[in-house]
C-alpha cells in the first residue's frame, strides 16, 4: 500500500502493476498530495472526465507515485460548480495539467496562481469545453469560411475604416483590424521581463529544423538567456475527443500515434490499461516480445539523439555514424516485424507478430555490431575536446531543482532522480531481467549524453537476454471486443523518454468513454525553462535536443 490516510479506502487494480485506486473528498486531496510529496513521491498525471451520464457531475483524476507504487485518486466534482483544490503549490508540475483540464473540460483549480489557458488557442471559445459530452463539434474546416471570417472581412473593415478616417478627421477610437484579428487568434499573456538592455526573441511555432511546432519566448540580455517561456498547443488535434466511442481496436492504433517516436510505449500502455480492466494477462511470449519492442524503440531513439547531439555541436561525423546504426535497427524492424517503428504491433491481448529463429540470429548479430560501434563512437565523443567543451556544464539542472519540479525519465536520471519503472515496478518480462538503472548527478548535457550511452548498452544487453530466453507460444489471447462496463484501468510503461501512462474509462456499455494518454514531456518541458537560464542563446538547440521532448504527446 503506497499511501495511508484516514478514511482512504484503496482498491488494487488488476494487473502486474502496483496500482491502487480510491475515491476521495475534495478536502482530502491536498493533505494526501502533501503526504506523498513529503515522502519523496511525485505526481504522475492529472486529468478530468465528464461523468454526468452516470452518478455525479465531473471527476478529477490524479495519479501519485512513490516507491511503493501508484495510486489513482478520483475526485467527484459537482456538475454546476466543478471546482477542486489546487495542487500545483505542492507539485509545480500540476500547473499546466490543471490549465489543460480547464481548457478541455471546464474543471477549475481554485486558488491556483496561474489560470492562463494552456492547450486552447483560438479554435474553440473560452466558454466551450471539447471533452464535455454535450460539446457540439464545430463544422468541418473550410478555407472559405475562415477567409470570410478573418482575412477578407478584416480587409474590408480596414478599407472601410480608412475611408472613414479620410472623410472625417474625428476622434473615433482608432480600431486596428489587423491587430484585432491577431488578438482573436491567440492573445496569450507572456510574462514580460523588463530592465535595461532586455529584449525578447520569439521563436516558432515553425522552427528552423525538422522539429515539431511550438513557440519559445526568450528574454535575453546580450547573448545570455534571462528567461524562457514556452507556449504549446499548436499540434493539439483533439486526440482525447477522438478516442471517445472508438472501437478498442482502432483506439490501439490511435494510442500508437499520440507521439510517433514512442509508439511502442503508448501502444503497450494502452494495452496494459485495457488488460487491467478486462483482468486478463497476455501470453508470456507476447509479454517478452513487448519488452523486446520497447527496448528496440529505446535503442533507435537513443542512437538518433546521440547523432543529433553531435550534429548540434558541429560534429557532423556523429550524426553520420549514429544514423547509420539507427537505420540498421529500423531496417531490421521492417524485415523482421513488418514496420520500421513497430507501429500497431502491440494490441490489447498480446502482439501481432512473432520472431522466427532466423530473426533471433539477425538480432544477436545486430547487438554485437551496435555494441562494438557504439563503444568506439563513445570513446571518440569522450575524447573530443570541442564536443565535451560544449556538452559539459550546458543546460544544468541540479538534483534539488529536478526533484522539486518532478523531472522524470531519462533527463531526470541524469539529475539524480532515480526513477525507472522497469527497475522499480518490473512487469513481465522485466521481473526476470534485473534492469540496471543508469543515473548521473551532474544534470548537464554531458550527463544526459552519458545516461543515453549507458541506457543504450543496457538495452542491448536486455535485447540479448530477451532473445536468449524467448520461448515460443501464443502471440495473442482472445480479447473481448468490448471491455467490462464502467471500468477503469491504467497502464504505465517506461518509454525511452520517461514514464508513458494511458488511462482508460469505459461507459455503461463497455465502450471507451474517456482515454487519457500522458507523456513524460508534461513533467520535463517546464524544467527546460530552468535549464536554459544563464546559458547563451546558441546553446538552446543543444540543450533542447539533450531533453528531446515531445510536442504532440503533450499537445494531444
Amino acid at each position: 500500500m503506497p499511501i495511508t490516510h484516514p478514511g482512504l479506502q484503496l482498491t488494487k487494480l488488476p494487473g502486474a502493476l502496483p496500482v491502487w485506486q480510491a475515491t476521495i473528498a475534495p478536502d482530502d486531496l491536498r493533505p494526501v498530495c502533501q503526504n506523498v510529496a513529503d515522502g519523496g513521491g511525485r505526481l504522475l498525471a492529472l486529468w478530468g472526465s465528464d461523468q454526468r451520464a452516470t452518478q455525479f457531475g465531473f471527476a478529477l483524476h490524479v495519479v501519485l507515485l512513490n516507491e511503493a507504487g501508484m495510486v489513482c485518486l478520483h475526485l467527484p466534482l459537482s456538475a454546476e460548480q466543478p471546482v477542486y483544490p489546487d495542487i500545483s503549490s505542492i507539485f509545480p508540475v500540476a500547473n499546466r495539467m490543471q490549465r489543460a483540464a480547464y481548457d478541455l473540460l471546464g474543471i477549475y483549480a481554485s486558488e491556483a496562481r496561474d489560470h492562463r489557458k494552456w492547450l486552447r488557442h483560438a479554435s474553440w471559445h473560452s466558454g466551450s469545453f471539447p471533452l464535455r459530452k454535450d460539446f457540439a463539434d464545430t463544422p468541418p474546416f473550410s478555407l472559405e469560411a475562415l477567409e470570410a471570417k478573418s482575412g477578407k472581412s478584416a480587409k474590408a473593415k480596414r478599407a472601410k475604416l480608412m475611408t472613414k478616417q479620410m472623410d472625417v478627421a474625428t476622434d473615433t477610437p482608432t480600431e486596428q483590424p489587423q491587430a484585432a484579428s491577431q488578438a482573436e487568434l491567440d492573445d496569450y499573456p507572456f510574462v514580460q521581463v523588463e530592465g535595461q538592455g532586455v529584449h525578447e526573441i520569439p521563436v516558432g511555432p515553425v522552427h528552423a529544423g525538422i522539429i515539431e511546432p511550438g513557440h519559445f519566448r526568450f528574454s535575453i540580455v546580450g547573448e545570455k538567456v534571462l528567461r524562457l517561456e514556452q507556449r504549446f498547443g499548436y499540434t493539439h488535434k483533439g486526440i482525447e475527443k477522438r478516442f471517445e466511442n472508438m472501437s478498442l481496436e482502432r483506439g490501439a492504433k490511435l494510442a500508437g500515434r499520440v507521439s510517433g517516436d514512442s509508439t511502442v510505449a503508448y501502444a503497450w500502455g494502452y494495452a496494459m490499461a485495457a488488460e487491467s480492466i478486462a483482468d486478463v494477462t497476455p501470453p508470456d511470449y507476447a509479454l517478452w516480445l513487448r519488452g523486446l519492442f520497447l527496448e528496440r524503440e529505446r535503442i533507435a531513439n537513443h542512437l538518433g539523439d546521440l547523432g543529433y547531439l553531435g550534429n548540434d555541436v558541429a560534429f557532423s561525423f556523429g550524426f553520420a555514424q549514429f544514423w547509420i546504426l539507427k537505420e540498421q535497427v529500423l531496417r531490421n524492424n521492417a524485415a523482421l516485424f513488418g514496420h520500421r517503428y513497430l507501429m500497431d504491433k502491440i494490441i490489447p491481448g498480446g502482439v501481432t507478430v512473432g520472431l522466427a529463429e532466423s530473426g533471433k540470429q539477425t538480432l544477436l548479430e545486430e547487438c554485437s555490431l551496435l555494441e562494438g560501434e557504439a563503444r568506439r563512437l563513445r570513446s571518440i565523443y569522450e575524447e573530443h575536446a570541442a564536443v565535451q567543451d560544449r556538452f559539459i556544464g550546458a543546460g544544468c539542472v541540479a538534483p534539488t531543482l529536478a526533484s522539486r519540479l518532478g523531472l522524470c525519465g531519462l533527463a531526470g536520471r541524469a539529475s539524480s532522480q532515480s526513477w525507472d519503472m522497469r527497475a522499480q515496478f518490473p512487469c513481465p518480462p522485466y521481473d526476470k531481467l534485473d534492469v540496471q538503472m543508469a543515473t548521473h548527478h551532474n544534470g548537464d548535457v554531458a550527463a544526459r549524453v552519458i545516461v543515453r550511452f549507458d541506457e543504450l548498452f543496457e538495452s542491448l544487453r536486455l535485447q540479448r537476454e530477451i532473445i536468449t530466453n524467448l520461448v515460443g507460444g501464443d502471440l495473442l489471447l482472445q480479447f473481448p471486443a468490448h471491455l467490462p462496463p464502467d471500468g477503469f484501468g491504467i497502464g504505465v510503461v517506461e518509454g525511452w523518454r520517461g514514464e508513458v501512462m494511458v488511462a482508460i474509462h469505459t461507459d455503461a456499455k463497455g465502450n471507451l468513454a474517456r482515454v487519457h494518454p500522458h507523456d513524460p514531456s508534461w513533467q520535463n518541458w517546464p524544467v527546460l525553462e530552468h535549464a536554459i537560464m544563464g546559458n547563451v542563446v546558441p546553446d538552446f538547440p543543444l540543450i533542447n535536443k539533450s531533453f528531446n521532448l515531445s510536442y504532440s504527446g503533450q499537445d494531444l
Binding site: 488557442h121 479554435s123 474553440w124 471539447p130 460539446f135 463539434d137 464545430t138 468541418p140 474546416f141 478555407l143 475562415l146 487568434l185 491567440d186 511555432p205 515553425v206 528552423a208 529544423g209 525538422i210 522539429i211 515539431e212 511546432p213 498547443g233 499548436y234 499540434t235 493539439h236 488535434k237 483533439g238 486526440i239 475527443k241 477522438r242 482502432r250 492504433k253 500515434r257 499520440v258 507521439s259 510517433g260 517516436d261 509508439t263 538518433g304 561525423f317 553520420a320 555514424q321 544514423w323 547509420i324 539507427k326 537505420e327 529500423l330 521492417a334 520500421r340 517503428y341 507501429m343 568506439r376 563512437l377 570513446s379 571518440i380 575524447e383 515531445s550 504532440s552 504527446g553 499537445d555
Partner: protein, 174 residues
C-alpha cells in the same frame, strides 16, 4: 583525429541508388512549367513544416538525410527559412492551431513553389480526421502538388515524392 579518420574509412560509402519518381503520387496537374523545374534542376531548397503531425513522419524525414538515402547528395537540402525555399514539405493533419502558421509559411515562400504533403494524415487526416481541433488533409489549407502516403512513409517514398514534384509530368509520359 586518427580514430575519427579510421572510423570514416572503415564505414565507407553507404549511399544507395536514388529512387525514381512515381507519378501516382501526383495529386494535381503539374502546376509549374517544365522550364521552371529545369531551373530548379537538382538544387532544391526545402522548408519543412510540421502542421500537427505525431512526430512519426518527422523520424523518416530525418532519415532521408542519413548516409543511406543521402538526399543532400542530390543537391536537395533543408533550409531554415521559407524565404529561402523552393518547396514546402508538410506533415500532419493540419491542426486548427497551425492554420495561420502554415498559411504564413506558404505565403512567405517565393513563387514558383512546390508543396509535397507527407503521410496518411497529410493525405486525408488519417486517424485524427477532421474535428474541432483538426482540419484534416493539408490540401484543405494550402495547395498541394504531390502526396506521399504511408504511416509513416519510408524514406525512399519520401524521396520519390520530392523527386516526383521536381520532375515534369510529360517527361514520364514520353
Amino acid at each position: 583525429m586518427y580514430q575519427i579518420i579510421k572510423q570514416i574509412i572503415k564505414t565507407g560509402i553507404r549511399t544507395e541508388a536514388t529512387p525514381l519518381p512515381d507519378e501516382a503520387m501526383r495529386c494535381t496537374e503539374q502546376r509549374l512549367q517544365q522550364q521552371i523545374l529545369d531551373v530548379f534542376g537538382g538544387a532544391l531548397a526545402i522548408r519543412f513544416v510540421d502542421a500537427g503531425s505525431c512526430n512519426g513522419c518527422e523520424q523518416e524525414i530525418h532519415a532521408v538525410n542519413n548516409a543511406y538515402y543521402n538526399l543532400e547528395g542530390q543537391g536537395i537540402k533543408f533550409v531554415a527559412s521559407p524565404r529561402h525555399a523552393d518547396m514546402l514539405l508538410v506533415t500532419g493533419p493540419v491542426s486548427r492551431h497551425m492554420i495561420v502558421a502554415l498559411r504564413r509559411t506558404y505565403d512567405a515562400t517565393p513563387d514558383p513553389k512546390l508543396v509535397v504533403a507527407i503521410g496518411d494524415c497529410a493525405f486525408d487526416g488519417g486517424l485524427f480526421g477532421e474535428s474541432y481541433a483538426s482540419c484534416g488533409r493539408v490540401s484543405n489549407v494550402i495547395p498541394v502538388d504531390v502526396v506521399v502516403k504511408g504511416c509513416p512513409p519510408t524514406p525512399t517514398q519520401i524521396m520519390q515524392g520530392i523527386l516526383t514534384a521536381l520532375t515534369g509530368a510529360h517527361e514520364v509520359q514520353a
